[in-house]
């Protein structure tokens, strides 16, 4: 067994375990920390797959931005250490059933599907390539989405300011 295979399994187990804990932990702060672990695990998985840039972005935005934001908001709205209310029993039951079924179903479909592996091709993601393509207008250029996203960020920033101005005027600029 290859080392990378083992690493993959470990990473997978880590990600899934942390995610499970994140959605089940009774204390919100713990939950946030487990989310952090999940995100870091995912970043690691990206790293494992050879897309270091994405992994980096993942760490910066998710870990550095979103989770921090979430934690801030937890502090704002919650007394730490307090246990969260239990989920409603009926809903958990139905959710679990539906989701288990959904998972089995989806994975069954994926499993059945014969993905055609192309001839070995070097999958080499250079950061410089990404940078060029991001701002290129030619083929494989992503300047238009880039601009759209920038407008989106601007708009959401304005939105956040409008909504939450009175409480915390700073939270729009997390990026």
């Amino acid at each position: 067994m290859h080392a990378s295979v083992i690493i993959f399994y470990i990473l997978s187990a880590f990600i899934l375990g942390a995610a499970l804990l994140a959605v089940t932990a009774r204390k919100i702060f713990r939950s946030a920390i487990f989310l952090l672990f999940t995100l870091i695990g995912t970043a690691a998985l990206f790293f494992w797959m050879g897309v270091e840039f994405v992994a980096a972005v993942q760490i910066i935005i998710y870990v550095g931005g979103i989770v921090v934001l979430i934690i801030f908001s937890i502090f704002l709205t919650q007394k730490s250490g307090e246990e969260m209310p239990k989920p409603l029993r009926n809903r958990s039951l139905f959710s679990v059933l539906a989701l288990l079924f959904g998972f089995a179903f989806t994975y069954h479909l994926i499993y059945k599907y014969r993905f055609e592996q192309p001839a070995p091709h070097v999958f080499n993601v250079k950061v410089s390539d990404i940078g060029t393509q991001m701002l290129s207008t030619t083929e494989h250029g992503f300047v238009l989405p880039f601009e759209v996203v920038s407008i989106l960020l601007l708009a959401s920033m304005i939105g956040c300011i409008v909504i939450a101005m009175k409480i915390k005027p700073m939270e729009g600029n997390e990026i």
């Binding site: 479909l109 994926i110 250029g141 992503f142 407008i151 989106l152 708009a155 304005i158 956040c160 909504i163």
Partner: protein
């Protein structure tokens, strides 16, 4: 290339320019009066609308990330028109609002998002456009900052929309995984009809279904419509919904053409559910906004029928209907937003005896509702007729029958409102409202539109001539 940028993306440029102007005003000074800002914005929107009618060209930009053609330009024009009307109507509400500029910044960025979404030739652009058009909407939904309902609506919207986009993304990822491309025009060549792909396709449809609120993906709609400010609700129900419908029809007709049988059946199920459930809920509503939410849900059921027509008439009837729907729904919302802005009353009972005090507004509301119900001589009749006719082209007579009977049910609740307005008496009716000039203009535009769009056969012919040949 350079001139192409300008001309092909003219509508986007216009919106961006307006955004920049507004941003500049925001940054530069605080001295602007609300009235003046509103005037300026309305003029700018009018310019935007007018420029839309010039310089039609078909073309593709950015490696098919952006594409445009006559139909798309027309669709954008419809959205611009709708936005213009919404903006005119918001006058009464925004007059004394401190955040006018922010409101327009958010509103126009969503409009921009929709433009990109409609022009998207690529699932990435589609997704980005979709998000751009929905995330600021959440902020808009929360614009009545003091109202609890508004916050609740915004929360429900953002969570539902995030959830929906999660599913949509999962679907897109599976599409990508099974076809290897995100470009819509290339997609149809790679479809293999495997179960996984159909699942992905269903996920994709659910994403669309969420935005256009088809049953069972509609549940957020009523709550969000009820909680949001009336102007935003009307924007939600007309512009936001309309834009996604435009994309939906293009995506189905071009990218997923080879799945025609599948989506035809899916649309069958969805449209029946949507009409029936929408109607059943609309019957029991008391809040007029909530009522219009369900009515707009059932309207979508009818639009889906037209979409299932798989013909040139299918596209044409959908676009045509959305144009009519814009006029009709905005006509209704125009009156409601006036009433809401001046009195804050939004319940059906409040409208008792409305005709006694405000006969003109009552007629506008009535005509709009008739148009929504598909009663001649309003344009709604023509719109619905052509939608169902397009649907019948596929021999789906069962569907048509169900739809036609649902129109009867829907007539019930429209007439219920008419009854309240015209026939019921009230000790404490809504007082006589003085309509400011800009909402009045909006209402005149809507009413004229409702009357003319149907009768003038040329409009339909025009849309038809541009529509995608299936």
């Amino acid at each position: 290339m350079g001139i192409d940028f300008l001309i092909l993306m003219k509508q986007e440029w216009m919106v961006i320019a307006i955004l920049l102007i507004l941003l500049f005003i925001k940054v530069s000074s605080d001295d602007w009066q609300n009235e003046n800002i509103l005037k300026l914005v309305n003029i700018l929107l009018l310019i935007n609308l007018i420029t839309g009618f010039f310089g039609y060209r078909d073309g593709i930009l950015f490696n098919e990330m952006f594409k445009t053609n006559h139909l798309i330009v027309t669709e954008k024009n419809i959205l611009s028109l709708g936005t213009f009307i919404v903006s005119l109507q918001s006058y009464a509400w925004l007059r004394n609002n401190k955040l006018v500029l922010e409101f327009y910044l958010l509103l126009l960025s969503t409009l921009l998002g929709m433009f990109y979404m409609i022009s998207a030739g690529n699932l990435l652009m589609f997704y980005l456009g979709l998000e751009l058009s929905s995330i600021p909407l959440a902020a808009l939904a929360n614009f009545d900052l003091e109202k609890r309902k508004s916050g609740e609506a915004a929360f429900k919207f953002i969570i539902s929309s995030a959830f929906a986009s999660g599913l949509l993304l999962f679907g897109i990822s599976l599409v990508y995984g099974t076809t290897g491309t995100l470009t819509l025009s290339a997609l149809s060549d790679h479809l293999d009809g495997s179960s996984l792909q159909i699942f992905a396709f269903i996920l994709l449809i659910s994403g669309f279904g969420f935005k256009i609120s088809t049953v069972p993906f509609h549940l957020w709609t009523a709550d969000v419509y009820e909680g949001s400010p009336v102007t935003v609700t009307s924007y939600f129900s007309v512009i936001s919904k309309g834009s996604v419908l435009f994309v939906f029809v293009t995506v189905l007709y071009t990218a997923f053409k080879s799945y025609a049988i599948t989506w035809n059946h899916i649309l069958f199920i969805l449209s029946v559910l949507t009409m029936v459930i929408g109607n059943l809920f609309a019957i029991r509503q008391n809040n007029i906004k909530r009522f219009l939410a369900f009515s707009s849900i059932s309207q979508v059921g009818f639009i889906l029928i037209g979409m299932s027509g798989q013909s040139q008439a299918g596209t044409a009837s959908v676009v045509y209907f959305i144009l009519i729907y814009t006029f009709s729904n905005l006509g209704a919302f125009g009156v409601i937003s006036l009433v809401s802005a001046y009195t804050g009353r939004e319940n059906l009972e409040d409208y008792k005896g409305f005709y006694k005090t405000n006969p003109r507004l009552s007629w506008v509301l009535a005509i709009s509702l008739f148009s929504l119900a598909g009663i001649p001589p309003t344009a709604g009749f023509f719109g619905k007729f052509f939608l169902l006719m397009a649907g019948a082209g596929q021999g789906n007579y069962l569907l048509i029958t169900i739809a036609a009977l649902n129109m009867v049910v829907s007539l019930y609740y429209y007439l219920k409102i008419i009854k309240v307005i015209f026939m019921d008496s009230n000790e404490n009716p809504i007082k006589r409202l003085l309509t400011p000039s800009s909402p009045k203009l909006a209402l005149i535009i809507c009413t004229t539109g409702i009357i003319l769009t149907g009768f003038v056969g040329y409009i339909y012919e025009y849309i038809f001539s541009m529509s995608t040949i299936f």
